[in-house]
């Protein structure tokens, strides 16, 4: 019965699912969750750097969305809303940590932190010839401040001036963090320094 309900909801778009969820159909909200959980989890993981915190960020994101369901945008902005919420929650968490340390998977393994499972994730980019695991691992080796800027700009499509507003830093700082972060990634993935 429940599976029938879920499958009947699959063909609905986000706006229709939000409307149904607003009228009390919990299965519609569950469908929204299944549809967008990977995207929200990726953003959360890329910012906080470990699976335990990333799961907490996703949980908080969907709980907030559920509590504000009445005012949730139904004009196709659901993913943007969820990612923005996840980003804010994740950035607050990183700031609260105040360690500024890198969070490479190797470091996490040695300290017993919950390691994200990449086994089902597809190849990141055909031309790059790396898996999502390798790309995320490379991303997690970048210092927090540069990684957050990279995630906001490339994963979420936030403009440079908007990132400056969000983080309360000058645009020049955003650009230099973007430059250093990209250069770090390029060296890590291509394993070379171009002179």
């Amino acid at each position: 019965m429940r599976e029938d309900q879920s499958s009947s909801l699959q063909h609905l778009d986000d706006a229709e699912l939000v409307q149904r969820a607003q009228s009390g159909q919990r299965a519609a909200f569950e469908s929204l969750f299944h549809r967008h959980q990977d995207r929200v989890y990726t953003v959360a993981l890329a910012i906080v750097g470990n699976a335990t915190d990333a799961k907490d960020v996703v949980q908080e994101t969907f709980v907030r969305a559920y509590k504000r369901l009445g005012s949730l945008r139904t004009d196709g902005g659901v993913v943007a809303y969820l990612c923005k919420t996840a980003t804010n929650v994740a950035i607050d968490l990183v700031r609260a940590r105040k360690t500024g340390k890198q969070v490479s998977l190797d470091a996490m393994k040695s300290s017993g932190i919950d390691i994200p499972d990449f086994s089902n994730s597809p190849q990141a980019h055909a031309e790059l010839q790396v898996t999502n695991e390798e790309l995320m691992n490379a991303l997690l080796s970048i210092p927090d401040d540069q990684r957050i800027v990279l995630v906001l700009h490339h994963l979420e499509g936030v403009r440079v001036d908007e990132i400056a507003d969000m983080l309360g830093i000058p645009m020049g700082t955003v650009k230099s963090r973007l430059g250093r972060g990209r250069e770090w990634l390029r060296r890590r993935l291509y394993g070379k320094v171009i002179d």
Binding site: Q37, D38, V58, V63, D117, L135, L150
Partner: protein
């Protein structure tokens, strides 16, 4: 243009500029410098790879989130919430205004009565227990005006 300058410009340019097009000066350099052209291509690929980065959420996330959801969703729409908050603000303003002006009115009333007593002692006599006691002892003859 120096290679170093070109690479810094490329690294710091936004994703759109990186994929859509670079400035004419940079483009001219890329046309002649194989090393910088390769650098540009690698940055474009890294940028595209990041844009498509997808990690599959762990299966335990679903029960974790569903368990954390409140029993009922928040149903207050944005318009309703705005209307409600405006009503609350208006009510607060009314209460503040009432107490402020009522307080001022009471104060003014007090000032007026005090000043009347002080400035017109003949018109409104101050209560004097001695006078009252004398008055109470007056006889009817004393009160009747003499013809």
């Amino acid at each position: 243009m120096k290679c170093e300058t070109v690479r810094q410009l490329l690294a710091e340019s936004d994703a759109n500029a990186l994929s859509a097009g670079v400035s004419p000066e940079v483009a001219q350099h890329l046309g002649t410098c194989e090393s910088c052209a390769e650098y540009h291509k690698e940055l474009q690929t890294v940028s595209a790879g990041l844009g498509g980065l997808t990690i599959v959420a762990p299966s335990e996330l679903y029960p974790q989130v569903m368990q954390a959801l409140p029993a009922k969703p928040g149903v207050l729409s944005r318009k309703m919430a705005l209307l409600l908050s405006m009503l609350v603000v208006a009510l607060c303003a009314l209460i503040i205004e009432y107490y402020y002006f009522y307080g001022q009115y009471r104060q003014q009333e007090h000032v007026i009565s005090t000043s009347c007593v002080e400035s017109m002692p003949g018109v409104i006599p101050t209560p004097n227990t001695e006078e009252y006691s004398q008055t109470s002892q007056l006889t009817l003859e004393q009160l009747t005006p003499s013809q």
